[in-house]
Symmetry: D2
Subunit: 347 residues, 4 copies
């Protein structure tokens, strides 16, 4: 058997980092050689993540600047934006799979506008491959730096790009309503993340100003071949993981929802993770919980000339750590599905 | 003190009926004289609703045809559509507050189309007052038959009617994304209502064909003074009660989201139950849980010329039983808020 | 109508304080004159509790030391232990209803042992009435200082005291397993209170060392007329409010579970809030959610000579703010149930 | 690579059967050759389990009597009690792993007493191996019929057997309080399983008469070498999966909770799935969700001479389908952990 890919995870103390470790544990061709979390350096993973109690052999947490990069083939950046770009920019022989927002936007100015900081490593932006795996395969093989998409953009772009590229929908009035499990908000100690505030409740947040909007617009603009402005309203709902987007689109003249279904069937035939549901069946997050799968479908809207596209993913897997591993597999010549075969955990 | 209103409840074995009884118990001017539920006749309320164990004096359940109407001032119809219209049509001195869909649509043919049955009492349709209380007050005073709006229409119309009537929005491309607690699906034994199927999950349902659509369109058409087609996608989310609608609208030329806020402030000034939130604060269902309150707000959309309107209610109170009691209060000359003063139950 | 009781609430920024305000809003004989919360002074209640948005006339939050006590008939202390005892000890004409642990334990040394601080006002301990309403009525009428029981002790003592006093159970091997909604843990920003950590999960906490143990033992010892040691294990379960205790007891020779039921029936006959369920029906928190009601029952254990007693309350109402209001009613000569008539909010 | 184990699943339409299929899908040495569910015969797995949409190649559901047993190496019985024993008793060359209660009790009369039916195949009882894997390894290798333990007994016996066998605890007054996710109640359409009834609520059920009691007593009696009566109270809590038991025990003279910890450390050293937590850390279901792991710990009780033992499992994995696969691995000479390596799914 080939040599394992030796990985380091920066930010192993967040939900994304933890889920990456969860997946890496059972990946047959991965060896975890370093886990970094500055605030928790010195502790074990089980100390901060009780569900890793059965895995006492995981490396102890260290500071990011204490990682010995000489033995690291790939690093997963699971830190908030602007926290690791500088460090990552110094690496020589380590491939970078970044899950933050740092390398997703092509334009450092747009980044600055939305994230409120000067980009820490703008010279790398042009090298970064936007890692929506199903769209990026040819470029992933030789990529040194992959920017994994945000969870909302992953779902939105898998649903919309094939339609935009095939000319089936118009760029106007694309309206995305997104519902996310609370893990998407991170492990930070905020009142709005407390169980009692979230449970038996629902609310939108960041109405009209969520940071995933420019990312969706950038990639969708490429698909349309022209700039596009979208409407996007995310909501936190009382569940741990999962993400569902209900998207209304304007059809190109003469097109129907059935044409969208046909486009999905064609585009995603043979895809191991993206699944068109039978006509009339609505995607649901329980179909993909804990897995790297994506389910989607299209429906006629009651307003003539429009359609409703619905897509569901697990925000931490396909929307984050799972897609990162999927990208790693391709970057290192491994089978794309390796370590990601698990079916959804239902119930 | 004046004589109490003697009420009967048809369908006391459903969530709507039970919530009506809950509210009636503490209403100082209501006396519950009959509770009907054909399938459960002979049982006590506590037998089928354990939370009524502390109220052993509630009338025992009887069959609907066993009610002695001579002593009933008002009847609340909490049955599924077409189940009670015939019976209700025979009543003489009892005012009818119907919570089913039977008397909401003006056109018996449209009713037949959407509900799949011939209307059981079409001659009553013209007498029925559509009981969206804040819009119907003048007509409620002398009404003999009030059709309480569906939960989704209640929220949608409170949000959209003032804007339509003031000419602030256009009738085109109104897109309603609705999130509802599971009590909205009723107490029926369906697999999709099981805890394990719903919990830690979300899915849309009845995409493009929910029965509340013609009702919203009918009333909204009145507001616009012209027919309107809407897009409406409801989702069940893992919570018991509560309903939130995120609505995108096209603004009339020159209008802004702030104009919508001003319209709400004007229209709902002094309303005891409808509350415009401060600029930028998103409505959330936890603000209204278990209460008759409504919270709403408007936001600029990223797509120019559009706005996002968000509204939250408790689907069983303002969306159903609470509004029914609010209507009863007006029909019998009682203070509109009587019995509905409770603040939201949070946490 | 008599003059209203003018109340102040210290600690209006916690769940207990907020629920007290919720109940006070609809209490016909209460006027809220001051709301204190040092960290939030200057803000409105709606600022920190969005569900109070419909109540703009609530007093603005002030610091506790800014309250003008001359116009306050009763103060509700909703602060953590040791935070307000000193201040409360200086009041002259204001009756004190304290919901903290400060005045529950008779012995300042035991207090020091369990709470890790020197008691701030030990001279008041002998004056305090332990406000388990159903057991304390005669002493509440003239009380100046009432110590409201903890939520766990409220449930445990209502279940056990009648049995102990009637000699039906033995003081040995009383084992209490308690399940609580997460609001019991407060609004503090702790990782263990985050939605994602709590949801779809359960765990015990403070095993063998929860601070409600000495309180239960003190009062139960009075009931038995002899010291008693109990076993008590609380668990947080994924719900907002509610508390259920499953208690195994050893029966006195010749006694049966049916004798326990008879004792409950006798002791609680006519009680407005404490309800014995029919034989064989298990108490459930959904029966009492949001209400001041208590439901209990007794069952034979499979181990001979033992029985299982089960009791359910709402931890924030009968277990906290509701019982405080119930006590206030008695202290001011009002009907005991005033403002507490609401039936449980189910669903 | 060796030939795969060809398996059939009877009862693939229940939660247990579905979770078995989920695990089998990724098991490298398993081939699913038949899936049976009489009521659903003719449908695909994706038809009844939307989370299997990505697995269109799963065999279509057939009737149990339509299975061609000649090509089946092992059958998993996931049906209710008494539903498949007769059929299973006719198999010749197929190893039986039964997850129902049919072969757990040694005594057909006790079975009849608790399950209310005459045992359908009493002659097989003596051949059945009680498949609590960690205790049954030597007998599993050559077993033809394995009776997988119930979920509650699995947790209880893993916690208590090592203590009983080592003489550290007494057989008297063993009190088990159990908390289970709702999947334990099955997919049957019962009102008590509806989301709205379960969510934001908790209740015990089958108080003093749950069918897992005789099973625990039988196996625990073996451990003690003498009959034992236990107290057992299960509760359904609002989560999908997971099970936690809080058990109070009487210590043998001179013994302490620390001795129990030592016994666990010794007995479970090297066990891949059973994990003693560090001193003072409470087991929680989130540590094991979706995995075959078990976490346990022991604590001093406040009542002298007693201890509290706490254990958590996933009711559908180690409590059911996972343990069944673990047993299959041993029965067919495969590595015990094969297909069960997944870490817990947290969040």
């Amino acid at each position: 058997m080939a040599q394992k890919v030796r990985i380091a995870v920066l930010g192993a103390s967040g939900y994304t980092g933890a889920d990456l470790v969860r997946l890496a544990i059972t990946h047959p061709q991965v060896e975890i050689v370093a886990l970094a979390a500055n605030q928790k350096a010195g502790q074990t993973m089980a100390d901060i993540w009780p569900h890793f109690a059965p895995y006492p052999n995981l490396p102890r947490l260290i500071r990011a600047d204490a990682v010995d990069w000489s033995g690291v083939d790939a690093v997963f950046g699971c830190l908030p934006h602007a926290a690791s770009a500088e460090l990552l920019s110094t690496l020589k022989n380590t491939k970078i799979i970044d899950l933050s927002a740092d390398f997703r936007l092509l334009d450092a100015e747009v980044y600055g506008e939305w994230y409120g900081v000067t980009h820490p490593a703008p010279h790398l932006l042009s090298q970064a491959v936007y890692g929506l795996t199903e769209m990026a395969r040819p470029r992933l093989k030789d990529a040194q730096l992959v920017a994994c998409p945000g969870c909302y953009p992953t779902a939105a772009l898998l649903a919309l790009l094939p339609l935009a590229e095939a000319g089936l929908i118009r760029p106007s009035n694309i309206t995305i309503n997104a519902l996310s499990g609370v893990s998407g908000a991170g492990r930070g100690l905020k009142e709005t993340n407390l169980f009692v505030e979230v449970s038996e409740a629902v609310a939108p947040y960041a109405v009209g100003r969520h940071r995933h909007m420019p990312e969706i617009e950038q990639e969708l603009g490429r698909g349309f071949g022209a700039p596009v402005s979208i409407s996007f309203t995310p909501h936190l709902i009382p569940m741990n993981r999962g993400e569902l987007e209900t998207i209304t689109v304007e059809l190109s003249p003469g097109r129907t929802a059935e044409d969208l279904r046909t486009a999905f069937a064609t585009r995603y035939a043979g895809e191991p993770f993206v699944h068109l549901l039978p006509e009339g069946q609505a995607p649901a997050t329980r179909m993909v919980r804990g897995s790297n799968h994506v389910v989607l479908n299209a429906f006629p809207d009651r307003i003539p000339g429009r359609a409703i596209v619905i897509v569901a993913i697990d925000n931490l897997v396909k929307g984050s750590s799972g897609q990162a591993i999927q990208n790693m597999n391709l970057m290192f010549g491994l089978p794309e599905t390796m370590g990601l075969e698990a079916a959804a955990l239902f119930p």
